[in-house]
């Protein structure tokens, strides 16, 4: 409770004319970022660190020169793809928080194709396309499990997708220590060169400036996916149905929209995006699976998706920003500052969701009824409550 003078009360009145899109969302995200940096600066200062210097160093290490920018884009690639997957599902009010597990399954499938499907002598484009395809399909099916559980048994996809993360991680471990292990170590054999996504540094022999630039073709894939699914969401009939489903499932059902089919497809596509992230990581960055392959991108991407207001067109900037935070924060000693920032950003974005949909108002004490809530404000409180319980994006 806020310490207000006797009789004064703070209520949140629902705001119906602000649709929570566009300008307000951008403003909200920027304000959340600002709040996060301010809070983190306070903590840093309290810990005896020069916050300005720390932020300058994070910026220098992640954006100031071309090699740093390249590292940032490498990190942004899986973040953007996973965030896109999450955003697709979230827009339809499907809480798929299994991006991490879907990423692992995608990577698993991509490596499986190389180890057991196609010989290493397969031409590079064919091998890469096969890996990409298998990663997307495997993760889509993995996410599809959540959809089936929900449609057949009414199991919340929030729980099932979360739990499938752990199953995916343990399953991956049993493969890297068991049948796919190289000499008993927790690693698969390194993939053949033909299964590596081309990196800018591959050109280093002809273009010396490319030395050490690790940004790979996966970034282009991420951009294409973001553009494509952005158009799907905003221009296609399927995207429109998803948005209706997210805005009001009862209305969607009443209007005779194929809700079940759309839920299935939304989760399939959401999973496929995360699977592509797994493919990019394994083919573009690490080139083999290990028991430590789990990177946490699937979880960080949830923040990226919310920061982008679940709008595909803001996902790339948000992912690049977070990629930079990860890269710049990594070297900053002691570690932990970027994690703090991430946490505060997430809380600020989610808290502002409430502010976006309701307007805080201070009620003056009314004559005669200093303690009893007035009828109007009680109604407002009730409305606000129902607003909260029903009104995610």
């Amino acid at each position: 409770m806020l310490p207000l003078p006797r009789g004064y009360r703070l209520v949140f009145e629902p705001v119906l004319d602000r649709d929570g899109s566009g300008r307000w969302r951008l403003l909200r995200s920027l304000a959340s970022l600002g709040a996060a940096f301010a809070v983190a600066a306070l903590v840093l200062t309290a810990a005896g660190v020069d916050a300005g210097l720390a932020y300058r160093q994070i910026f220098t290490a992640s954006f100031a020169d071309v090699p740093a920018l390249s590292d940032t884009l490498v990190r942004a690639t899986p973040l953007a793809l996973c965030a896109l997957g999450s955003a697709l599902a979230f827009r339809a009010r499907l809480w798929n928080i299994g991006g991490e597990g879907q990423l692992l399954v995608g990577a698993w499938a991509a490596v499986g194709v190389v180890l057991h499907g196609l010989p290493a002598s397969t031409p590079r484009p064919i091998l890469l396309i096969a890996m990409l395809f298998c990663a997307a399909v495997a993760s889509a099916l993995w996410a599809g499990l959540c959809a089936l559980l929900r449609l057949w048994l009414g199991v919340s996809e929030l729980l099932s997708s979360l739990m499938l993360n752990y199953i995916a991680l343990l399953g991956l471990r049993s493969f890297v220590f068991g049948p796919w292990s190289e000499g008993g170590f927790g690693l698969t054999p390194q993939l053949p060169r033909s299964a590596w996504l081309p990196r800018l540094s591959d050109l280093a022999e002809r273009v010396p400036a490319c030395r050490g630039l690790t940004v790979h073709l996966g970034f282009v894939l991420a951009v294409l996916c973001v553009v494509f699914f952005g158009l799907v969401l905003s221009r296609s009939r399927f995207g429109y149905r998803l948005r209706v489903l997210g805005a009001n499932p009862q209305a969607a059902r009443a209007a005779g929209l194929p809700v079940e089919r759309d839920i299935l497809w939304a989760l399939l596509l959401s999973g496929a995006c995360a699977g592509l992230a797994g493919f990019c990581e394994v083919s573009g960055v690490v080139h083999r699976l290990s028991d430590r392959f789990s990177t946490g991108y699937g979880f960080t991407a949830l923040i990226v998706a919310w920061l982008a207001g679940l709008q595909p067109r803001w996902i790339l900037p948000a992912a690049i920003l977070f990629g930079g935070l990860l890269v710049g924060g990594q070297e900053l000693q002691p570690g932990g500052i970027p994690l703090l920032l991430q946490g505060v950003v997430l809380m600020a974005v989610l808290a502002s969701e409430a502010l976006l949909r309701s307007r805080p108002r201070l009620l003056r004490p009314e004559a005669g009824s200093s303690d009893e809530p007035s009828g109007a404000s009680a109604a407002a409180t009730a409305a606000q409550k129902s607003d909260h319980s029903e009104d995610l994006p």
Binding site: F293, Q333, L339
Partner: protein, 433 residues
């Protein structure tokens, strides 16, 4: 007690349901996401040598550990000095693996003049480490040391990009003959001696089980388990060894649970191959015994019940490599430090130290004799694993008179007796291939 890293996600979940039941779906979703993200971050750190260990902090020297961290900024090379950068997988205050590497770094600075060191801690293996390595190379560090197995591929890649820098990798097998070498040590020698001590204690107590807390079923760990069991058989032919796989290098909760489970199953002594000192504290609670790992001071938390600790002294490798580099004589290859080099040790058995009085005196003499032979080079890891050697099914792995090769012990390609079996007397299984 601090919340261990592996648990916040589940705690967060509980919090979520509490909030959810109190209404406010957005808040509960926020809680859930925050719990997930923090859990994921923990997981990324929970590679080798990290996590919030309540007891580990007491063995680490906080002032000294903080001394490097006080810089609180991105490490930079200093012109005119020989610059060495260390990449750690955990925090320097973990009291285990990373802590011993940082002890090595600090000893290096004291022993070798004209040197500047910096470190980056909590660098996850796999995709995360490559840009850290590359960034350090760009900053003109002369030598870059990576102290975790999972940095291997990334170090190979970056070493090829920066032929003018030197790269030293700990616990891997790759090298390129020009600027990238690796180093590890014969910890199996010390584990063998620890096995002698554990077996001697179990024999004296008439409780014929020794427990082993095993991190991962990889050749390194299997080698150490086998060496311990072979030592145990020397002093306690009737003993069996019980193994618990925890699938983590560091996980305070699982280490504690594994120790409790082993004692409950009748173990008299628990030998830990993981990084925190919790199993030692459990031994104190249960009134039994344990043997620590990684750090020479691990036994400080349980002076009476911790029989000894098998430890690493990394400054041996670091000073050698740095001096060779500065003299221009470094030939990157595979360093494998044994007892002679001093890279591996057994606490209580160095000069001026007194062994734990709970070790039977006959065993103390036996350990001292073998340690003397090890240091003199008359006994080695190849003798530890010399035939006749049978695996747990009774199959003869090495006939009498045969000895394994180095690649057999490391389980590398080209091995004929690869480290993918458990020796006779061990109860436990390895994953099927």
């Amino acid at each position: 007690m601090p919340i261990p890293c592996s648990r916040p996600a589940s705690l967060g979940l509980v919090g979520c349901w509490t909030v959810a039941s109190a209404g406010g779906r957005i808040l509960s979703l926020g809680c859930l996401l925050a719990a997930l993200v923090s859990g994921a971050a923990c997981k990324r750190q929970a590679a080798r040598g990290t996590a919030v260990s309540p007891t580990a902090s007491s063995t680490a020297d906080p002032a000294a550990a903080g001394a490097g961290g006080r810089a609180r900024s991105i490490p930079t090379a200093q012109p005119g000095l020989f610059n060495v950068a260390f990449v750690y997988v955990g925090p320097v205050g973990d009291g285990g693996w990373t802590y011993t590497h940082d002890l090595g770094r600090r000893a290096l600075v004291q022993k070798v003049p004209g040197i500047h060191t910096a470190y980056v801690e909590n660098v996850a293996e796999g995709a995360d480490c490559e840009h850290v390595l590359r960034s350090l190379a760009r900053k003109r560090f002369d030598l870059i040391v990576g102290t975790s197995f999972g940095y291997m591929d990334a170090m190979e890649t970056v070493a090829a990009e920066f032929p003018e820098r030197a790269f030293l990798h700990i616990a891997g097998w790759k090298q390129n003959g020009t600027n990238f070498g690796n180093a590890f040590g014969a910890m199996e020698d010390m584990k063998y001696l620890a096995g002698l001590i554990a077996g001697g204690r179990a024999q004296a107590d008439g409780r014929l089980v020794v427990g082993y807390i095993a991190p991962f079923p990889i050749p390194e760990v299997v080698r150490l388990i086998n060496a311990t069991a072979l030592g145990m058989k020397q002093t306690c032919p009737g003993c069996t060894m019980d193994v618990r796989w925890i699938n983590a290098w560091v996980d305070p909760i699982r280490e504690q649970e594994a120790a409790e489970s082993l004692f409950a199953a009748g173990a008299d002594v628990v030998v830990t191959g993981a990084d925190t000192t919790l199993p030692l504290s459990v031994a104190t609670q249960k009134g039994r015994y344990a043997i620590g790992y990684d750090s020479p001071t691990a036994c400080d938390v349980a002076k009476e019940r911790c029989l000894t600790s098998t430890y690493w002294r990394w400054e041996v490798v670091y000073t050698d490599v740095v001096q060779a580099l500065r003299a221009g004589t470094w030939k990157p290859g595979a360093i494998y430090g044994d007892a002679q080099s001093g890279l591996v040790g057994l606490s209580g058995f160095s000069e001026g130290e007194v062994p734990n009085p709970n070790i039977p005196s006959a065993v103390v003499e036996q350990v001292r004799t073998i340690l003397g032979e090890l240091r003199a080079g008359r006994f080695s890891r190849f003798d530890v694993f010399a035939g006749p050697l049978r695996d747990q099914t009774g199959r003869t792995v090495l006939a009498a008179g045969q000895k394994p090769t180095q690649s057999d012990l490391l389980g590398l390609s080209g091995c004929s007796v690869c480290m993918s079996f458990l020796v006779e007397g061990i109860r436990g299984t390895l994953p099927r291939k």
